[in-house]
């Protein structure tokens, strides 16, 4: 048993200025197992991974690797050389190089690149693993999912002993996830130890053998999957018994509302290739766009907000026709939009939490009427408290917050503008169960207070729990609208799949 251990980390500690990110954490990985690393945001998962891959250098503890004894890992290169490979949530490949180059660059010390060999080997591996990419293709021309698989193919070919998959499934659709899982099982059978970091509980139970749970930078425990029911896992991650997930029951008896819609679109289309669609939302309603990745759900709400160039259609707000051509127009009419891509479209990483919160309000007021320091402070404190944002102070740069808390800051930014219609695109992606539930509750509460909300999520369950009406999309068309008793997983799936077959 002891001989099976590939990697053992003992008493790992890591301190960042003002934050104790890891304290006395143990982690053991065995040969040929898929080991899930679980924890809420800020639990220390990312830090532990980064210590293991040499991005951060540990402050305390020991790392033992099978065959190498005790090791100190100071850089990603050293980690690679020791057989530790990582595939990150954000693709860490170079889009301007070919697929083959991305698989082989930085791996050998040969002075000359042997293109033919490299491409032949790359094609063989891609074929072997069933990855739909060609060696000579420029990586940037592949879809994100395929790029991720290329990253895994690279790791596989490096005959790594430890493969770390950091949130690999967040941008994949079900089919791709299934493909990834079969790839993972294949690797497991070849004796690779896989560390699987994810927020999707179902996925953990689908592939993992063992689970290690972290909370607040400390180890909660290591468990065999069979002996840890899902509910208990969630409880362990949150450090409390799980109330809340089930008490979010919608009242389905909302009467048919015939009032004038807050927002109404007719034949709206955008440059990003959304087909003209009709859409309306009433006061106090929570509806959602659902569909597979790439079905056009994000593109639709971006068209509503004017984030992409609108190419046609009429828009009415409160029954009056208005023109929304750019985000500022939308904001003026009381529409708020929380973008899908938190890092690129949402946060301004180097600004403080406070400045990030007041940003949208400031834009609406115009930059020549600055919000006073005292006022900004007041707003920030109010929302940090209201949304329970975990930050050292309102002065802290937003980039040092965990993902879930960053998301809350952006939410606060929009709430501060008091929108009558708020669009939330994947507000819960990549954040922990606890914060997820909080955000879902908040959405319901806002709706009760009279705000209209459009909610988008990849998790159908979450959509069903939060929305009272679902708009189903497929291939950039709206293919159905579900409400009341139709709101079941089965119905949604059927609508997405289409009745044709």
């Amino acid at each position: 048993m002891q001989n099976d251990v590939v990697l053992s980390m003992r008493g790992i500690g890591k301190v960042f200025p003002g934050v104790r990110a890891l304290h006395n954490v143990d982690f053991t990985l065995r040969k040929g197992e898929i080991h899930a690393l679980m924890g809420e945001n800020g639990a220390g998962k990312s830090t532990l991974i980064k210590v293991l891959t040499g991005v951060h250098i540990k402050d305390a503890g020991h790392i033992h690797l099978d065959g190498a004894g005790e090791v100190t890992i100071r850089s990603p290169q050293e980690a690679q050389a020791l057989g530790i490979s990582t595939v990150y949530q954000e693709i860490t490949l170079c889009p301007n190089l070919t697929v083959a180059e991305n698989m082989y660059i930085g791996r050998n010390k040969d002075l000359i690149v042997k293109w033919k060999d490299m491409e032949k080997k790359a094609d063989a591996i891609l074929q072997n693993l069933g990855i739909p990419a060609r060696a000579k293709q420029q990586l940037g021309s592949c879809s994100l999912a395929v790029q991720q698989m290329v990253a895994i193919a690279r790791a596989v070919d490096m005959e790594c002993k430890v493969l770390i998959l950091d949130e690999p499934t967040s941008s994949l659709d079900d089919k791709e996830v299934a493909m990834l899982f079969s790839l993972m099982r294949d690797l497991k059978n070849r004796g690779v130890g896989i560390i699987f970091v994810t927020h999707f509980l179902e996925q953990v139970y689908e592939v993992s053998d063992r689970i290690t749970v972290l909370r607040n930078g400390e180890l909660v425990g290591e468990y065999e999957v069979e002996h840890l029911p899902q509910v208990e896992l969630v409880a362990k991650m949150m450090g409390k018994e799980l109330e809340g997930l089930s008490d979010l029951v919608r009242d389905d008896n909302a009467a048919e509302d015939t009032s004038t819609p807050v927002y109404e679109a007719e034949g709206l289309s955008s440059a990003k290739g959304v087909n003209p669609f009709e859409f309306a939302i009433r006061k106090g309603e929570v509806n959602g766009f659902t569909g597979l990745l790439g079905s056009g759900r994000s593109e639709s709400v971006r068209a509503i907000f004017g984030a992409d160039r609108v190419t046609g259609g009429k828009v009415k707000m409160d029954g009056r026709q208005v023109k929304i051509a750019k985000p500022k127009d939308a904001m003026k009419h009381g529409i708020g939009y929380l973008p899908e891509d938190r890092k690129d479209d949402g946060i301004i990483a180097d600004l403080s939490v406070r400045d990030n919160i007041i940003l949208a309000l400031q834009v609406m007021k115009g930059f020549f009427k600055p919000i006073s320091q005292a006022e900004a402070e007041k707003f920030a404190d109010e929302y940090i408290k209201a949304l329970d944002i975990k930050t050292a102070s309102s002065e802290t740069p937003i980039k040092s917050l965990s993902g879930g808390n960053q998301q809350k800051v952006i939410l606060a930014r929009w709430l501060l503008t008091h929108p009558q219609y708020l669009i939330l695109d994947e507000p819960t992606r990549g954040i922990d169960v606890g914060t997820k539930t909080e955000i879902q509750r908040l959405v319901r509460k806002l709706a009760e207070e009279g705000m209209s909300v459009t909610f988008i999520s990849s998790e159908i369950e979450e959509m069903l729990r939060t929305c009272s009406r679902l708009i189903v999309m497929r291939d950039r068309h709206i293919v159905g609208e579900l409400k009341g008793t139709e709101l079941t997983q089965e119905h949604v799936m059927r609508t997405i799949a289409g009745g044709g077959d």
Partner: protein, 362 residues
Amino acid sequence: MKLNKSLKRREPLTDTQLLLTITICIFFGMYFLAMAIWGGGFLRWQQVFDMLNNNAALIIVACGLTIVMIGGGIDISVGGVTALVVMSCIVHMNNGGSIFTAVLLALGIGVAFGLVQGYLISYLEIQPFIITLAGMFFARGMTTIVSLEPQKIAHEGFKQLMKTKIEIPLLGYTAKNGNLIPARMEIGVVVALLIVVIVFILLKKCRLGRQFYAMGGNSQSAMMLGVNVKRTRFYSYLISGTLSGIAGFVFMMHTGAGNATNAAGAEMNAIASSIIGGTLLTGGVGNVIGTLFGVLTLTTIKAIVTVSGLRDPWWQSITTGAMLCFFIVLQSVVLANRGKGGLKKMLPGWLKKPEETDAGKL
């Protein structure tokens, strides 16, 4: 040739190849147009060789800049370093130095600038623009310290070297009196073309070259992939500095005179040439063959401006500016629309044709 292969296997062009194709097509289009309209000098091979003779140093400097720009950086000290090398070498040789020690001096100055700038930019992570701006001022200042007065080369051996030209009778033309005047190429051109070939091989075939691309594409990713980004960046500036040193020597072989304003604006011409040649300022995309054609395109434009009667020097600047602007807009439009099927719509008809017919033929 590389192009044909990838087309045969029906792999879409990479960004680098696409931009290179555009540059080469535009250069030949422009040159043939000039031949058709103005004839005369444009019909002689000597015109091409003159373009090379006059710009050998610029080609070398631009090669270095292409490497730095592919790696996502910038080096604006190159013109200053070139001028410093010219002045130092002339003063050195006029005071009894040999050609050999002058070569060493040229290389030494170039390497020294490369080392210091590379170290500051890569390991101390200071903005390359600022460091090389400082380097430029420093080099220009040093040039005037070495000699305030313009210097003329007095070294006999070197004068001989300057006069040495490679004659290619095959590409010559028959003068009015019936004599065959062979095409003449300076030694500096051989050096420049050799460097283009070496840099081409470096960028295409060597690990280091590919690491420049990786670093320019996404330096964070490159680091994660195991590329030693700091060292790679260091090498890019070291190569650029060294090439500026060589360029200085070649410049001197062409002019034989040193002046504090030598190679003025060479850095900007080199950047312009690289951009016209399809190197993106954002990094990760570029090709040294393109840079060579970039230099030629820029020179051809200037020649065309001159023969069309606009002899005042500012017309050249204005056309260079317009040309650069045109290429940048063209590149960003092409790159932004590729893969979305929008390319065909966006390009005007006359630009669309060469690529489509190319693809159709093969």
